[in-house]
Subunit: 339 residues, 2 copies
DNA sequence: GTGAAAGCGCTAACAA
DNA sequence: TTGTTAGCGCTTTCAC
């Protein structure tokens, strides 16, 4: 049988309650006793039974990550990985559940899962985190949730995000600094929260540099490689071609590079291409893509922290309620001064 | 407070034990009683507390997926997704945990996690699933585990795999059928179980077609884009260049395509390139890569089934103990007849 | 067929 | 500062 708290108590020569105190970082344990207990825990490689704990206390030490099934991506993978790391550090566990927003009644099913599992909190990502009905139900059920990239209404819950506007502006400034004057932009899916922000950042930076944005140099896109390729074809077919194209995510940047290759346009010498996200695509592309790195793992970690800490100091809407983490401009091989 | 089994019992006018019987589909409950209980459950929208259940019984309804942190990949993501789907269908939950094989004593930590969580079973993937010490500990602990791509000793545990030899042979036959006679091959990491199998399949198919394999047309690789690029550079620099290159995974195929682009060699007209795995890379590449699709989601689903069903009919080494699922040759745009 | 009693391993409340 | 006593909500005996 597995090691229990009694075994640890016996080995350390104390009561079970004392072991419990050490486990939960409670006060009133003398240092030598604490160390003896810690030693016994180590020696026995003891881990408290999550079920017993969950049954006797309010905490379950379980955090749920709800992922939208069809939208599965590198983004989701990075997020999960970050959450996993933080959970491990905090001695929590991550329960991953699939969400199918197409399915009617999916919210009820989610709530049922959550309550059966007594989750301490859940992490929501787009597009799940913008579903009004779901948020409302979570709130009436009193279930703590944190959203990553919450979009319009961050204050509504704990949230973690980056400043998309500033990031897009910085990328644009990078292109301008290289000497580009004529820069095209490819947008993302209209209903994604980041789409208008990234475009706004681009336009602000252009304006700040006293550069104009031609109407035919803003192309619609959909965050996919193929969408980027089509937009790229269109932009590259223009009579006066831009010397740089800023695609608002990496997959679309990859598509632009495919379109360029097809026309015999060499990146970056004849055309600079920039992306956004620092996804896997940006790293495996050839040449590698200049992009904006979102600290996705840190963001997930921050979300986990918010969920866990909420239980100790219940102060919603405090200063840390809506965190905006720093992004990073990653300059790689797809951008260079214009020919 | 949440609804408990007692509330249900009271409402149905029976004892808690009877409700428990209905919940677990046990025999010896008369139909009218059963219906009354079911009615009460429905009326109260009762959900048994997973913790209480797990604490008092052997089953936890939890399955663990242990993923090697650095090796995180699209493969792992697909696997998880498949497991998640099957778990949901079976009313189980998936707990994902990180493994760091570099860390000394990681096995002990894993075992501790598993016992703390009372997992009903765990799914292991490469490279974790080939760690002898870990398998031995799982076995002494009596913990059911299933391996995906188990390598050398599938019989040792339940396992799910594809026939790498046959798949590689089929890809090679595809290239030969297109008219290629001079085909190069890029190997994977030596200690990965699939590496020798894929090469064997390649050589068998060449031999079967009466074609020779030149020594300088077998290149070492490491399953990465860059490794593929380096191997590609080498192969393309040869005086008598092969007309097709079969890289034993998609990332390396992508690297080969980058090497070709650099030399101005057009794929597929001047060079055919084939990959393996049908990963994301194969789909976003331009041209898209001809590859072998592993039914990774089905494989994960099968692993979940083996773990769950084991509890009812404990018959290890039965006919379903080592499943080999069908792969699929996916012909895309990177392969064509030689110029 | 059904129910009463006794835990599962832990923590909350209360003593000491 | 530490230990004792009850449960948490369920399933497992083992009666009836």
């Amino acid at each position: 049988m597995a090691v229990t708290i009694k075994d640890v108590a016996a080995r350390a020569g104390v009561s079970a309650k004392t072991v419990s105190r050490v486990l939960n970082g409670e006060a009133y344990v003398r240092e030598p006793v604490r160390e003896a207990v810690l030693g016994a825990i180590e020696a026995l490689s003891y881990r408290p039974n999550v079920f017993a704990r969950g049954l006797s206390s309010a905490r379950s030490y379980l955090i749920g990550l709800f992922l939208d099934d069809p939208t599965w991506s590198g983004y989701a993978a990075g997020l999960q990985r970050g959450a996993l790391h933080r959970c491990r550090a905090r001695h929590y566990h991550l329960l991953v559940e699939l969400v199918d927003m197409e399915k009617p009644g999916f919210e009820a099913e989610m709530l049922a899962s959550i309550s059966a599992l007594r989750l301490d909190g859940v992490i929501l990502t787009p597009p799940v985190c913008t579903h009004e009905g779901l948020l409302a139900r979570l709130e009436t059920a009193g279930l703590p949730y944190v959203r990553v990239s919450p979009g319009q209404t961050p204050q509504r819950s704990g949230s973690v995000d980056i400043d998309d506007v500033a990031a897009a502006a910085e990328m644009t400034a990078h292109l301008i600094a290289l000497g580009h004057r004529d820069i095209a932009f490819i947008e993302g899916i209209p209903d994604h929260a980041a789409t208008p922000k990234r475009r706004a950042g681009f336009e602000q930076a252009m304006q700040a540099a006293g550069l104009g944005v031609r109407d035919d140099c803003i192309a619609a896109g959909d965050f996919t490689v193929n969408g980027g390729r089509l937009a790229g074809e269109r932009l590259l077919a223009l009579d006066t071609r831009a010397t740089a194209i800023f695609a608002s995510n990496d997959d679309m940047a990859l598509g632009v590079m495919a379109a360029a290759a097809r026309r015999g346009i060499v990146v970056p010498h004849q055309l600079s291409v920039a992306g956004f996200d620092d996804s896997y695509s940006a790293q495996i592309a050839w040449p590698t893509i200049t992009t904006i790195r979102q600290p996705i793992m840190d963001m997930a970690g921050a979300a986990v922290d918010m969920l866990i800490d909420r239980q100790y100091r219940d102060e919603p809407h405090g200063p840390q309620w809506n965190r905006v983490l720093p992004y990073e401009l990653v300059v790689r091989d797809s951008t260079a001064p214009p020919a």
